[in-house]
C-alpha cells in the first residue's frame, strides 16, 4: 500500500522543514519526502493549500477506561484524538481503579491494542490508588511500558513521598508529571479566587494553591534531579517559577491547556459548568502571561487535559458539577485561532509545541516526518472556519468549553502508522 500526499506545505520542526513537498507513505513508514514525487500509488491525496505535519502529540488525556466508560472509552477517545489530528496521546492513570500496578498496565495495554485508533502511551500513578501514601512499583511499571508517572487529579501532598518518588523516577529516567495544587489552599473552591468568586458567590481556588505547589515540586526536582513536567499551568506566578527553573538549568518542562490562553475567568460568569475546570480559568492577565510564556518557550507544550464528563455530572448546580472539559477535537483549531492568527506564535512554532517538544519530553521517537520514520501525520486546513457544535463531537462526552465558538483550522486527514485513521466527511 502506497499513499502519496501531494503539494502540501510540509511543516516539520524537528527537521527544520517548511516548504511545499510531496510525502510518500509505504505501509507504515514514510518512504520519501521530496518535491514532485512521481511514483505510482494506491492512493493520492491532494494537499494543496493544506498543511502536512507530524501527527500531533497530547501529553494529557483522560480516556476514562477502565471504570468510567460512560464518559469515554479508549475507542471513543482515540477517535476524538484522530479527528483532532493527534496520533499519540498520553493516557492519565486516574481511572477507576487507578492505574497503579503492572497488572493494571498490562490489562490496559491489551485494551489499547484492541481498541485504540491512535498511539496511546501509558502513565501510572505515583502512589497506590493515588492516595498519596505508598509509592507504586516503578521498576515493574516501567517494564510494562510506563513512560511517565503522575497522580494527576491530585498532588502528592506529602513532600517526603514526592521526593522519594522523584529520586526513584530519576534512577529509572521516568518523567514525573505534577498536578500542582495544595488542597488546603484550594479546598472546595470551584472558580478563580478573587473578583470572580466574590461576584458569583462561589468558593475560590487561589492562585497560591497552584504556584506554591509548583514551587515545591521544582525544589524537589532540583534536589532529585528528576525530569519534572508541570501539568496545566494556569497562572502568571507558575509561569515565572518555571521560567526561573529553566534558567537555572533544571530538567523542568511545562504544559498549558487551550482554555488557559483562549479564555479567562469571565467565561464562568454565566455559571456555565463547561467553564468549570481545575485549575480554574484565571484572570485576563494570567491568560496573557500564558500566551507570552508560549511565545517565549517557557511553556513547552500545549495539551488538552481532555476530561470527559457525562451530562449528569455537568447539567447540575455549578458547585456540584464535575471539574474538567474535553479538548482533543478543538485543541489545534483553538491554538491556531488564538495563537497563530493573533501573531503570538508562528504556525511552525505552534506545531513544535504539538510534536517535537512533547516527544522529547516524554522521550519517544515521534513527532517528526523523517524518512523511514513511522508514518504518523496530519493534514489540515489552517484557514478553514467552523463552529463547535455538540452534535459534531465524536467524544462520548460533550463538555467542551468552546461550544458555539467559531474557530479556524480543520483537520482533513490523520494517518497513524500509515493508516488513514481519520478523513473529514462533510
Amino acid at each position: 500500500m502506497k499513499t502519496i500526499i501531494k503539494g502540501g506545505r510540509v511543516i516539520d520542526p524537528k527537521n527544520n522543514l517548511d516548504q511545499c513537498l510531496d510525502v510518500l507513505i509505504e505501509e507504515d513508514r514514510i518512504k520519501e519526502i521530496a518535491p514532485q514525487i512521481r511514483e505510482q500509488a494506491d492512493q493520492v491525496i491532494d494537499a494543496s493549500n493544506k498543511i502536512v505535519a507530524p501527527g500531533l502529540i497530547d501529553l494529557h488525556v483522560h480516556l476514562r477506561e477502565p471504570g468510567r466508560e460512560d464518559k469515554e472509552t479508549i475507542l471513543s477517545g482515540t477517535r476524538a484524538a484522530a479527528k483532532g489530528g493527534f496520533t499519540t496521546v498520553l493516557a492519565m492513570p486516574n481511572c477507576e481503579p487507578a492505574i497503579d500496578s503492572p497488572e493494571k498496565v498490562r490489562s490496559l495495554n491489551q485494551r489499547i491494542k484492541k481498541d485504540a485508533r491512535v498511539n496511546v502511551l501509558v502513565s501510572s500513578a505515583i502512589t497506590l490508588e493515588r492516595a498519596g501514601q505508598k509509592i507504586t512499583d516503578l521498576d515493574s511499571l516501567q517494564k510494562e511500558g510506563v513512560l511517565a508517572i503522575t497522580d494527576d487529579g491530585s498532588s502528592v501532598e506529602d513532600s517526603k513521598i514526592m521526593l522519594n518518588a522523584m529520586q526513584r523516577a530519576k534512577e529509572l529516567d521516568l518523567l514525573v508529571i505534577a498536578h500542582c495544587e495544595d488542597v488546603f489552599l484550594s479546598k472546595k473552591g470551584v472558580v478563580n479566587k478573587g473578583f470572580t468568586s466574590t461576584k458569583l458567590g462561589l468558593k475560590g481556588i487561589s492562585r497560591e494553591s497552584e504556584y506554591s505547589r509548583v514551587a515545591r515540586d521544582i525544589e524537589l526536582a532540583e534536589k532529585s534531579n528528576a525530569r519534572l513536567h508541570i501539568a496545566h499551568v494556569s497562572c502568571r506566578e507558575s509561569v515565572e517559577m518555571v521560567a526561573k527553573a529553566k534558567k537555572r538549568g533544571l530538567r523542568v518542562s511545562a504544559e498549558t491547556a487551550p482554555h488557559y490562553f483562549a479564555l479567562d475567568e469571565e467565561a464562568a460568569w454565566s455559571f456555565d459548568t463547561n467553564m468549570k475546570m481545575n485549575p480554574p480559568l484565571r484572570a485576563k492577565e494570567d491568560a496573557e502571561s500564558i500566551r507570552q510564556a508560549l511565545a517565549e518557550g517557557v511553556i513547552d507544550v500545549i495539551a488538552s487535559d481532555h476530561a470527559p464528563h457525562t451530562i449528569n455530572e455537568k447539567a447540575i448546580e455549578f458547585d456540584r458539577a464535575a471539574f474538567g472539559v474535553i479538548g482533543l477535537e478543538t485543541e489545534l483549531a483553538v491554538a491556531i485561532t488564538e495563537l497563530v492568527n493573533k501573531k503570538i506564535l508562528t504556525l511552525f512554532d505552534l506545531i513544535k509545541k504539538f510534536t517535537v517538544n512533547p516527544a522529547s519530553i516524554i522521550k519517544i521517537d515521534k513527532g517528526a516526518l523523517s524518512p523511514a520514520a513511522v508514518a504518523d501525520l496530519v493534514i489540515f486546513s489552517p484557514e478553514k472556519e467552523w463552529v463547535v457544535k455538540k452534535e459534531n463531537l465524536v467524544s462520548k462526552s460533550s463538555n467542551s468549553c468552546f461550544l458555539g465558538k467559531r474557530i479556524k483550522g480543520v483537520v482533513e486527514y490523520t494517518f497513524c502508522q500509515g493508516q488513514m485513521v481519520y478523513a473529514r466527511q462533510d
Partner: protein
Amino acid sequence: MQIFKRKDLLGLEELSKEEIEEILFTAESFKEVSTREIKKVPALRGKTVVNLFYEPSTRTRVSFEVAAKRLSADVINVSIETSSVKKGETLIDTGKNIEALKADIIVIRHGSSGAPAMLARHLKANVVNAGDGWHEHPTQALLDIFTLKEKKGKIKDLKVSIIGDIAHSRVARSNIWGLTKLGAQVKVCAPKMLIPPGIEKMGVKITNDIENALNDADAVNILRMQFERDEKAAFPQELEYFKTFGVTEERLEKAKKDIIIMHPGPINRGIEISSAVADGERSVILEQVTNGIAVRMAVLFLVSQSQEQNHEDHN
C-alpha cells in the same frame, strides 16, 4: 410599555438602572393594594406560582406567598431537603416536573449559587431568584432599596453602609449591585476575614471599623451573623463580634440623627444589633417586611408580563 422585559429575575447585577427603577415604581403602585379592605387584585388570576425552596426560609417564602395571593395567583409551596451527600432528582428534572404541572412562575431558593440561572435556561416558566448561595437575593435588595427610597426620597448620593458577613451574604451582593447602579455610595464593613477578595471592583469602599461605617452613613444595612457556617474556626466569637461590630445606641451617637437602620432579618439581638437599636425610632425593619410584599408583587407581575422566550433546552 414596560422597560423590564425579562422572563426571569435572577439578580440585580444584570439589571439596568431603568429596570430597577421600574420595579420600584411598580412596587409603589402595589403597596396600595395591601391597604385596601379587599387586599387582592385579579392580575395573576389563573396563574400558578410555585415556591421551590431548597433551603428552609419562612420569611421569604411567606412574603412571596402573600404577594402571589394578593395578585390572585394559586400558590404551591414545595420544600426539598437537600444535603450534599444525598442523591436525588436533579434540579432540572424537578423544575421540568413542576413546569409539567403547568406552573407559570417558579420562585426558587437554593443553596448553590447560580442554580436559578441554570433552571431559567432550561424552563419556559418565569424564574424568580429568592436567594441562591452567596450569590444574589434580588427581591431582598429591592425591598431594602424601596424602603430606603421611601424614607429618603431618593437613592442617588446616599451613603449606605452594609455591615456584617459580606463574604457569605447574597443580600450584601444584591444590595451593592442595586445601590451602586442607582448612584448610592456604598461602604462594606466587616472583620477582614469576612470581606471577600476583589469586592472593591463592585464599586464599594471597604472598612474594618464600625465607627467609620456609621459616622457619615445615611443608612446602614446590618446583616445577620451566622456562626454555624463551615469556616467556624476563623470566625470571631459571638460576644466578641457584638463588642467590635454590633450596632448599638452608643455607637449611633456619633452617627447622623436621621440614619436609617435596616436588617433583612431574622435579627440576632445582642449579636449584630442591640435590642434598643432594633426596636428604636430609626429602625425600619418591620416596614421592610411590609414593603417586601409590594416589591415581590411587582416582580411577580412584571415577569408574568414578559413575552421573552430565552429558554434553551440543553437535553
